[in-house]
């Protein structure tokens, strides 16, 4: 299965074409094809995961306890009914092989975990095919299957499957229903291709493909101008970052001796085969791509606008999967970033700063939004900031772990918001919602669970992953550590708690402010919600710190999914230890945020209306409402400031250069034509014709004298000529 995992992206790709061509003629308008294809892909991804676990363990230590199996297996059993058969069969087979050896090996395993360096390398599974040859260089496409790819396979297929099921209800009756499912399939295929890409070139292709799908799906209801504007904004903003991606990839291509191979690039970057300068340049260029794709400040502005798309799209693309492509890119080329930015030994670097700024900036904006999806969008921006920050401080596993848990609880929140809007036909929390907990119990409970996971309440998923990032910030890095980023993370957690409590209050508490009678959504919406909610509770146990659990259960995520080999940093690369102080502190901070918001909204305490009374608070409020004026900066200052002079310059060039050239050419050809007419045509050509006629005429006039018609004259000429010839013969012969 591991060698054949490349089939997984091809299944939804095939489904894309099938839906496009025959979807409309099917009884369910093509949605059944999409659901089936992604369902199969999910089962195969599960099988790949299971085999990957044994691959990791077979490499050196046989009989690895199957702690991850227990947790993951439990989740899947609860989660996806489709998958139970395939999964349990796989897991069952696995159990047989390892059960006997289990007890004896656990002591050894503990030692091995303590010395991460001495742990055996896990070879990634690779397959490649030559795509084309150019100038003696083989351009290859292929599959690079290692920890991060495997975990992303699981996340993408699971969330995609749930979103597919959810969409069959949510977009039912839409005029472009078939089209919607076709592009969901294409997106799934591209995203799976992206996570399994072997070469950076292939990564770019898939990166652009997911961007196109995002564009198409944001603009799904393009009849409204706001939606098509949002789609264009997403696409164009991503183009800005893509320049960085191209520059970075090309820099790495030449720096690594003309190769696109990710493993080779990472290996060379880590063993000193590429100069520090080249790595720094490439890393900085790639950060631009991360900023645009993963919604980091200052290129985050497209992500909230992207909420114009249908809610399932927001959950799948703009919360759980596509926006983490930037995180994945950094994690994929981590050797480049680690060496280029000296992550292991410094205490501040560009990647961490971008992430840190985004954590706070995104969270601040979430406070003033009344559109439920925009709050969640800024929350996503903020959480992606956590991941980028974690990568920036060297906590690779923490970043991917947070990616893993965030995908579930944020998808849960988004789908929950879709369920709410399905009931009240609006996204405006202030005007059309309130008190919905009475009518929508399932949505309410799952939303609460998702929020708890996002805020990081023990023992929900977000608690474990966020704690690991904070612990990383306090322990990793060089002199003085990344302490500043720990503070940023804690402040972000406080803000997250407060704005999510505000959302809960506005949607589910107080008086209902909308019209009509809201109702709970159907099972195709609530079942995915519950599956994601359960994952939001349990996903965090995938990487329980070793201090809190027996060795056989602790740090399974790190053990299975963190790459171990030449292409992943070892020198200066450490894992943070669990710290009770930070865990408690973060939880207390989260509770403080919740408490403050509770007092503010439920009890009406605090300085309400301060933004009207105080100039400082008013200014701050306006800055937030205007989203730090980034949109003004881009559209008015940069675009507006640039387009005027450019338009004038273009006009001047148009008038003077281009028109000049055109007019000059016109005038030149007129003059040339006149010259040709008077001189060549009239004189040479006509002259030749006329003169030949004249010459013929005059020669005829001369010759007609001879043809007098008088026979005797002819006779005289005849005899004269004969006489001349005779004379000539007599004289000369």
């Amino acid at each position: 299965m591991l060698e054949n995992a490349w089939i997984i992206p091809l299944i939804p790709a095939a489904s894309f074409f099938l839906i496009l061509f025959i979807g409309k003629h099917l009884p369910r308008k093509g949605s059944e094809l999409g659901v089936a294809a992604v369902g199969i892909a999910f089962v195969l991804a599960l099988a790949t995961n299971v085999q990957w676990f044994s691959h990791v363990d077979d490499g050196g230590h046989e009989g690895e306890p199957r702690g991850e199996e227990v947790v993951e297996g439990g989740e899947h059993g609860l989660g996806a009914a489709v998958s139970v058969d395939g999964e349990s069969a796989q897991a069952g087979a696995f159990t047989e092989t390892v059960a006997g050896a289990r007890g004896a090996e656990s002591a050894e395993e503990g030692e091995a975990l303590d010395e991460a360096e001495s742990e055996h390398a896990v070879e990634p599974v690779e397959r490649s095919w030559t795509w084309f040859q150019n100038g003696g260089v083989d351009i290859e496409v292929g599959m690079l299957l290692d920890g991060p790819a495997v975990v992303m396979l699981f996340v993408v297929t699971l969330v995609s499957l749930l979103v597919h099921v959810y969409s069959t209800d949510y977009v039912a009756g839409d005029r472009r229903y078939t089209h919607f499912f076709a592009f969901l399939s294409l997106f799934t295929a591209s995203m799976l291709g992206l996570v399994m890409a072997k070469s950076t070139l292939q990564l770019i292709v898939c990166w652009e493909l997911v961007g196109v799908c995002s564009f198409v799906l944001i603009g799904h209801w393009w009849e409204e101008k706001a939606n098509s504007d949002a789609a264009l904004k997403a696409f164009i903003t991503n183009r800005v970052g893509d320049i960085g991606l191209l520059v970075g990839i090309i820099t790495l291509y030449f720096a690594a001796g003309q190769t696109f191979d990710i493993v080779e690039i990472n290996t060379l970057a880590l063993n000193g085969g590429i100069s520090q300068t080249a790595l720094l340049v490439a890393a900085c260029a790639l950060i631009a791509a991360v900023m645009s794709k993963s919604g980091q400040f200052i290129l985050h502005t497209w992500l909230p606008d992207a909420m114009a798309g249908p809610t399932p799209v927001s959950a799948l693309i703009h919360a759980a999967t596509m926006v983490v492509a930037g995180i994945f890119l950094v994690g994929r080329l981590y050797g480049v970033f680690f060496e280029g930015l000296s992550i292991g030994t410094s205490s501040v670097n560009l990647l961490a700063v971008v992430g840190g700024v985004t954590v706070i900036g995104g969270a601040g904006l979430a406070f003033v939004q009344d559109d439920i999806k925009k709050v969640l969008a800024y929350s996503t921006v903020s959480q992606l900031g956590y991941m980028v920050m974690a990568l920036g401080i060297g906590a690779w596993t923490a970043a991917f772990f947070h990616l893993f848990t965030h995908a579930f609880f944020k998808a849960c929140l988004f789908l929950g918001s879709g369920s709410v809007s399905h009931a009240v036909h609006s996204f405006d929390m202030r005007r059309d919602m309130g008190g919905l907990r009475k009518w929508m119990p399932h949505t309410y409970k799952t939303f609460i669970i998702g929020t708890a996971a996002l805020v990081g309440i023990f023992p929900f998923a977000g608690f474990w992953s966020k704690d690991e990032i904070l612990a990383g910030a306090s322990q990793l890095g060089g002199e003085g550590n990344y302490t500043a980023f720990m503070i940023v993370g804690i402040v972000g957690a406080l803000m997250t708690a407060a704005y999510m409590t505000r959302v809960i209050y506005l949607i589910f508490f107080g008086e209902y402010r909308g019209h009509g009678h809201p109702h709970e959504s159907g099972p195709r919406i609530t079942v995915p919600l519950w599956i994601l909610a359960v994952l939001g509770v349990t996903a965090g146990f995938a990487n329980i710190p070793s201090a809190l659990a027996p060795d056989s259960l602790a740090l399974r995520f790190e053990h299975f999914y963190e790459p171990r080999g030449d292409y992943f940093p070892i020198e200066n690369f450490t894992h943070p230890e669990f710290s009770l102080g930070i865990a408690l502190g973060a939880t207390v901070i989260g509770l403080v945020g919740i408490g403050a918001a509770y007092l503010w909204y439920w009890r009406g305490l605090g300085p309400h209306g301060i933004s009207e009374r105080s100039a400082v608070a008013g200014t701050g409020y306006r800055v937030l409402v205007n989203k730090y004026y980034f949109d003004h900066l881009y559209t008015d200052v940069i675009a507006g400031g640039v387009k005027g002079p450019i338009a004038r310059a273009a006009y001047w060039i148009n008038q003077n250069v281009i028109d000049g050239v055109v007019n000059g050419a016109g005038r030149l050809s007129t003059a040339l034509g006149r010259f040709v007419y008077t001189h060549v045509d009239q004189q040479v050509v006509d002259g030749a014709v006329n003169r030949s006629a004249t010459a013929a005429n005059s020669s005829g006039q001369v010759l007609r004298q001879l043809t007098s018609g008088k026979v005797q004259q002819y006779g005289a000429l005849l005899f004269g000529a004969a006489a001349v010839f005779a004379g000539a013969i007599i004289l000369f012969v």
Partner: protein
């Protein structure tokens, strides 16, 4: 036949030829022009026979006989044409027959 006698025949032929040419070019009467052509032909005949006699060759005389035969036919055709021209124009003046004038 000695050279002196040959010269006399050639001289006679030349004179006859000159008279014939003069008649062809200068006379206006078509019948006279035909007759002048006969003179030219006969001048040639004298030459042919004279040279044939000098070489003792019968071919010269045979040629002369052919020429006489052809000349008879030619005069027959020519006089017929003259007769038709006369009927059409009531004239045999060559200067009037210039339909081919360019």
């Amino acid at each position: 036949m000695d050279d002196l006698l040959l010269n006399q025949f050639l001289l006679l032929g030349a004179i006859l030829f000159g008279i014939g040419v003069y008649g062809v070019i200068a006379r206006k009467n078509t019948v006279l022009v035909l007759m002048s052509i006969e003179l030219i032909l006969n001048a040639v005949n004298i030459n042919l026979i004279a040279f044939g006699a000098m070489h003792g060759d019968i071919a010269g005389a045979v040629f002369a006989l052919f020429v006489i035969a052809v000349a008879a036919a030619e005069v027959g055709v020519g006089l017929a044409m003259v007769l038709i021209i006369y009927r059409n124009r009531s004239s045999v003046d060559l200067d009037d027959v210039d339909t081919m004038r360019g």
